[in-house]
Structure formats: C-alpha cells, structure tokens
Amino acid sequence: MTAATATPATLPAPARRLGVVAGLRHTATLSWRSLVQIKHNPMELLDLSIQPVMFVLLFTYVFGTAIAGSSGDYLRFMLPGIMVQNALFATMTTGFGLNQDLTRGVFDRLRALPIARWAPLAGRILADTVKQAWSIALLLAVGMILGFRVGNGLLGVLAAFALLLAFTLAASWISVLVGVLVNEPEKVQIFGFMVIFPLTFTSNIFVPTERMPGWLQHWVEINPVTIVADALRGLLVTGPVAGPVAQTLLWAVGLAAVFAPLAVRALRRRV
C-alpha cells in the first residue's frame, strides 16, 4: 500500500470532508452560472417575460368581457391565477436545464470537482427561484399597468410572493424527477405541455368553477391549482385567506415529501 501513495510529502494532505458553509458557497457560485447565461442568451429572458405578458393581454381583452362582463373585473379574477399557471410552466426550466447538464456531461464535470454533492442541484434550483420571482413581479407589474389593484397592501403582495415561491419550489421536484428520467431536454418541455396545460386549464384560474359542466366542477374544486389560485386571490385582491393558504402549504409539503426523495433517488441511480 505504501508504494501506491503518490502524494508528495511536501504537500499538505487534502481535507477529508467538506463543511456546509463551503457547500453554500458552491451553491451560490453555481446559481451565478445559471443566471449569467441570460446575459449571453437574452432570448431566455424574453421567454421568461413575453409569454406571461402576452397571456395577460390576450385573456384580459379577448375573453375578459365575455367571461366577467368587463376586462377590469376579469383581470382582477384572472391575474392571480395566471401567476400560478406561469409559475408551474416555469418549474420546467429546472428539469430542462438539469437534463441538459446530464446529457451534455456538465454534471459529471461538476461531480468530479471537490464540491458538495448537493450543490449542483441546489444551485440550479436557487437560480430558477430567482427567475420565478422575476416572472411573478413582471406579471404583477403588467397587471397593475392594465388596472389591477392590490387589496391587502405590500404585506399581501409579499405573502403572495412567498406562498407562490414555496409552492413552485415544492412542485419543481416533479420537474427535477422528469429531467432525470428522460433522455433529452425537449422531452421535459413535452411533459410540461402535456401535464401542466390541462392541469391549469381545468382549474378556476380562467373561468369560475360554477360556469363549468357539473362533472368537471368536482375536479376543479380539488385541483391544487384552484387552491393556490384562491389563496393568491385572497392575498392579492380579496376573499378567504386562511383556508386556501393552509391547503396550499399542505400541498407544497406533500409534493416535496413525495417527489423530492423520488427525484434524488433517480438522480443517484442515473449518475
């Protein structure tokens, strides 16, 4: 065994373990990596911005009068919901980026470095949370330009942001799981389209539950998207707060409890 020791005696032996502080520093560096990409690919920022803005404009002016009688009333009803929809679509970036890293070998390079094992994933999730916050703020700003008024002041807005970020953080574990399981990044987007589109449209974010066919109403009422949208309506406009907020947090805990272990296990298996 002595013959195999190639470390020169003059060099100090490398550290055996890594502290949590170092891991947090690695996480910060890796989220810088995800965010600085936007500088070279401004399209990504447009992706994050144009779709939500377009949805708000289209729904407000095309469907607003038909559904709610006036575009102003409809905006008040729909804006919190469209925030939820947009946030759920945006969680797919996490799985998409992770899959790109896995298939292109970036993940292996990072794992061969003496950094915390959880830092590559944590760095990505942190960066995507920053992007989420940007999209939510942008939606609210556009809404306010179009005439949306918040009902519970700054505190309500901050609470709504925190709640939605907590929910998307939990939901992004689904995206991580999909990102690990599929063999190419585009399949993450296909999954997002196939699942999130029907899921968000069969909620009460665009159309009030009572205007839908009876059989659908049962589903709409238990759809978590409805629950989160109701919580945001309560915080941003008016209506019950405690119930929907508590249920949203329960959903977040449930999603994380189920999908985080599955995603981490799948990732361990894949790499």
Partner: protein, 323 residues
Amino acid sequence: MTYAIRAEGLVRRFGETTALAGVDLAVPTGTVFGLLGPNGAGKTTTVRVLATLLAADEGHATVGGYDVRRDPHRVRQLIGLTGQYASVDEALTGTENLLLIGRLLGLSRAQARARAAELLADFQLTDAAGRAAKTFSGGMRRRLDLAASLVGRPQVLFLDEPTTGLDPRSRNELWDIVRTLVADGVTVLLTTQYLEEADQLASEIAVVDHGRVIAQGTPEELKAKTGGQVLTVRPTDPADLPTVLAVAGEVARATPEVVQTTVTVPVNDPDVLPTVVRRLDAAGVPVAELALRGASLDEVFLSLTGHRAEQDADTDAMEESLA
C-alpha cells in the same frame, strides 16, 4: 516505483450488462497510461469509477494513494477530468467556464481570473475568451475542456477519448499539450479508440475488451507479443484474391484481412515467407507485392481480440463476400 492510480478487480454491472469484468491497473506516477479499446469495451466506465463518479460493484481503486470509495473528496482534490462525458457549459464564455471552476475550487475572484487568463493564453483561446463556448470549433472546445480540467493543477488527469472527432491538426495540438503536462509531472490516464494515439503518447498501454484488460505493456512489448510480424501480399490480378487469402490463412494459421487488394495476416514464424512464395507460385498467382513487416498496434489489437478496434464497413463487406 510509486503508482498514481491502482485498481484491483474492478467489476461494474448495469442490469444484465457487465461493463467491467475485473479490471486491474497500475499507473506509475508521472507517466501517460493508455487505455485502448473499441466502443463499449469499458474504458469510460473505468474512468468514471476512478474519478469517483461511479461506484464499482466489486474491487477497489486508489488515486494518489486515496481510496476512491472511502475518500472521494480527497481524490477529487487531486484529479482533473475531461472528455466525452465531462464537458464545459456551452452557454458560458471561455472565461466564465474557467472562472466557474476556479471559484468552485475555492480560488478568490482575483485568483480565479488570473488562472483563467493564464490557461486561456496557454491554450491559444485568449481571442475567443469572451465568446460563448457553443460558438467554438471542435478543437477549441476540446482545448477549453482540457483547460477547465487543469484549473486546479491536478496531479492526475483523466482524458476520456480527448481527440475523438478532431481533425488531424487539432489532434496534434492536443497531443503536444498532453506531452507538456507530463513533462511537468502530471500523471495522465488516456482512453482512446485510436491505436496511433496510444502509440504516440502512452509509455504503457492496457488493451481493454468486454470489460477486461486482455493485454498490457509498452507499445513495443505489445507489438512483440503477437509475434510482431505481418505478412503482406498483393496479387497483380484482384481475381486471385480468394486464392491468396486461402494460402495466407493456411500457412500463417490465422485469419487474413483484406484492405482493397492487399491481404495481411499476422505471423509468428518468419520462415513462412518462402512457403508462401512456393505455394503462390505453384498456384500460378503473379504477385505485385510480398513483404514481411513489424505489426502495427492495429494488428496487435486484431490478433488479441479477434476483431478490429475501428470497424471498417467496407472491409467487413469484402471479407464476407470472400468468405
């Protein structure tokens, strides 16, 4: 002699497939060790086990004296990894990629910048440093990949098929870089499908096939191992190829190969030459070329594994039609 890398009895299965069936390696410090084999031989799996990316099902390995399983964090502080499955971030610029690695390795912002600039200059990437890596040519990409694995001044460098897909000029540039690194005392484990590459760079080669090391030695030893001689016969009239094949195979007691109109077969006994001449003469086959020469690594591989390292579809088709 000290060994930078040691592996004993590495076994790794993926479901039904056995990627490694008991790999033993001993790489002396400060040398280039070539892991030579076709696609799917187990080269990349070996590198992934040694680079702490993958746990072996059986066996153990040390890098720089540290066990890859028990002390992975220490091993990671000594190694650099580059190649087909470890790559840079295409969306970042050359500089940013190196900054990222430098910062992750604990360098200060200023140190990371200085190290990045130094490496970019060494690898002639200064002009492209501010461009996204996805705009780089193949050769530039590989140089950046290599630079990224050198940020931490590794003692042991894993190069997994570093020149696959490169044009000859870029390949030669990369070879020169590897030679410089070894001159500086770095130990390099190189995997390659190219026999020429192993021959050019490695002081010792392990030939891998189906997850096992089937031969090991210096390039010269490996060439000598198979008798070291190759009989080459080119008939004047291509129509005589089947006769030549039959004669060559019978006399050399090995399976001959055909490339265009030339038949080659490895031989152990130089005395076969007169026999072949007599037999071809008796069969009335006029010969344009008849020679005995030292074996190339390509032929060494063929005689060790029974198949070529780089499959050539045309040759295969011809062999089948002549069989």
